[in-house]
Amino acid sequence: MDHVLSVSGLRKTYGSKVAVDGISFEVRRGEIVGLLGPNGAGKTTTINMILSVLEPSAGSIHIEGFDIQSHRAKALSHTNFAAVYAPLPGNLTVVQNLRVFGLLYSTPNLTARIEELLTQFELTAFRHTRCGVLSSGEQTRVCLAKALLNRPLLLLLDEPTGSLDPAKAHDIRIKIREVVADGDCGVLWTSHNMYEVEQVCDRVLFLSRGNILLEGAPKTLPQQHGKETLEDLFIAVAREPLAFREGHHP
C-alpha cells in the first residue's frame, strides 16, 4: 500500500456554512505534503477530521488502510500530530508528558523511546522541567517529541514552526526531514511560511473556501500559474480563489 492517508469526498458543514467542500487527496509514504491556504480555508478543520476529533458531514478518511470511522483506534495508533495551538499540559514535566502520551499510544519499549527522543530533540536537560515553564521553542520540541513517540506512519503538523525564530525553525525542519527520510512516515504540513514550504514539502495542496484549488510541486507550481514565487501564488489564490476554481491562471 503506497498511501498512508487517503481522503475521499471529505465535507464538513455547520448548518448552511460549508467549511470543507468534498475534498479528496492522498499522502504517500515518505512524502511531505503541504496543506496551504489563507486563514479560514479549512486546513485545521481538515486536520481535525483526520485526527477524529471532528466528525465529517460526508466522505471517508483511511489511515494505513483503516477507516477512521469504523476502526478509529487502529487508524489513530498509526497517527500523531503537533500543533502550535495544542501544547502539552504545562503542569507535567517533559518526561511525565512523554510517558503519559506514550502509554496512550501504547508505545512499545517506552522508556528507551523517550530517552531516544529526548536526545534527538535536545531535551535531556529539561527532562524534569514542567512544560509550562519552557520557552515556546522548547515546548515545540516537546510537542514534536510527543508526535513521534509511536513512530507514526502519518504525521500531522499544523504550523509546527509558527512560534519559532528562523534558526530554531530551520533545525526543526531538518529534524522532520530526517524522520521522513529514515522511515515510512508521510507528513501533512500546514504553514503560512512559503519559504518553509518550498524547503520541506514534496507536494502542496492549495485550499481555499473548503476546496482544493491547486496541487503540485512547490518549486514548479508558481511558474505553471504565471507567478514568480510560491508566496505570489498564495496571495493570488487567497485574493482570487474563483479564478483558480474555474481553471483560469491569472
Binding site: L54, A73, L104, Y105
Partner: protein, 267 residues
C-alpha cells in the same frame, strides 16, 4: 479495552497529586474537618440527650458515608477537570483512547483519591470519636459499594455537563451532592419527608444505605432486597451517565467543540 491507555489517565493524575500539595491536601483535609465538626456535634448531642440513644454511629457514620460518596464523585470530576484546565482535550482525544477507556481511567483515579479520604475519615472517626464500624458488621461492604457506584454515576454525569456546557459549567457540578442530600435521607428517616419527596428519595440509591444503617443502629436488621434494589438503581444510573457522556461527546465531535473547547460554544 486497552489497560495501557486506562493506566495513562491514572498515571497523569498520580503525577499531579504527587507533586502538588494543592491537589493532595484537599483529598483528606475537608473530610477530616467534617468528621471533627460532626464528631463534636454528636458528642454534644449524646451529653444533652436524656435517652441512651448513641448519636455517633447515626450522625457521624452518616457524615462519613456521605463524604465518601462526595469524594468518589469529585474524584471523577477532578480528574476530568485537569484536562479542562490544561486545555488537553485535543491531545487526549486525538489518541486511540476510547470514551470507555477514558471514563475507566477517571474512575480508577477516583478510587485512589476517595480511598485516601476514606482512610483518613475512618482513622479520625474511630480514634477521636470512637465510631466503630463493627456496629454495621459486614453490611459496611454493600453500603460503600452502593455509594461508590452512585458517586461514579454522579461524577460521569457531571463531566458530561461540563463537556456540553463548557469550563464555566464546573460550578454546576460542585453543589450536586448538596442538592441530592435532602432526598438521600442522610440524617433522617425517609418517612420524615413529605410524600412527593419520598417518591424522589426512593429513586436515590444512598437512601437505601442510610435507611439500612439507621435500622441496624436501632437494633433491627437491614433489608437486603432494599439494598439490592439500591445497588441496581446505582448501576442503572452509571449506565445512564455513560450514555449521556457518549451522547455529549458525539455532539462535541459533530460540532467541533472537542477541538475548540475553550470557546465553550460554537454557535
Amino acid at each position: 479495552m486497552n489497560f495501557c491507555r486506562i493506566y495513562a489517565i491514572l498515571l497523569r493524575q498520580f503525577y499531579l497529586l504527587r507533586e502538588s500539595a494543592a491537589r493532595f491536601v484537599p483529598l483528606f483535609v475537608w473530610v477530616a474537618i467534617d468528621i471533627v465538626l460532626w464528631g463534636f456535634i454528636t458528642r454534644y448531642l449524646n451529653n444533652v440527650s436524656t435517652s441512651p440513644f448513641n448519636f455517633v454511629p447515626i450522625f457521624l457514620g452518616a457524615v462519613l458515608l456521605w463524604d465518601f460518596l462526595t469524594r468518589v464523585m469529585q474524584g471523577v470530576t477532578m480528574a476530568f477537570f485537569e484536562d479542562v484546565w490544561s486545555r488537553n482535550f485535543l491531545n487526549v482525544f486525538a489518541t486511540p483512547i476510547s470514551t470507555g477507556e477514558y471514563l475507566s481511567g477517571l474512575v480508577l483515579a477516583s478510587i485512589v483519591t476517595s480511598a485516601v479520604g476514606l482512610v483518613v475519615m475512618l482513622v479520625v472517626a474511630s480514634c477521636v470519636f470512637g465510631l466503630s464500624f463493627i456496629v454495621y458488621g459486614m453490611l459496611i461492604v454493600p453500603f460503600l459499594f452502593i455509594l461508590f457506584l452512585f458517586g461514579v454515576a454522579l461524577g460521569i454525569f457531571g463531566t458530561a455537563i461540563v463537556l456540553r456546557l463548557g469550563p464555566a459549567a464546573e460550578w454546576f457540578i460542585w453543589p450536586i451532592p448538596a442538592l441530592i442530600s435532602p432526598f438521600a435521607c442522610v440524617f433522617y428517616p425517609l418517612a420524615t419527608l413529605p410524600h412527593w419527596m419520598q417518591w424522589i428519595a426512593k429513586l436515590m440509591p444512598p437512601a437505601y444505605v442510610f435507611e439500612s444503617m439507621r435500622a441496624i443502629v436501632a437494633g433491627g436488621s437491614a433489608s437486603w432486597p432494599a439494598l439490592a434494589w439500591g445497588a441496581g438503581l446505582a448501576v442503572g444510573y452509571i449506565v445512564l451517565a455513560c450514555f449521556t457522556f457518549v451522547r455529549v461527546y458525539r455532539h462535541a465531535m459533530r460540532s467541533g467543540l472537542i477541538a475548540r473547547y475553550s470557546a465553550e460554544s460554537l454557535s
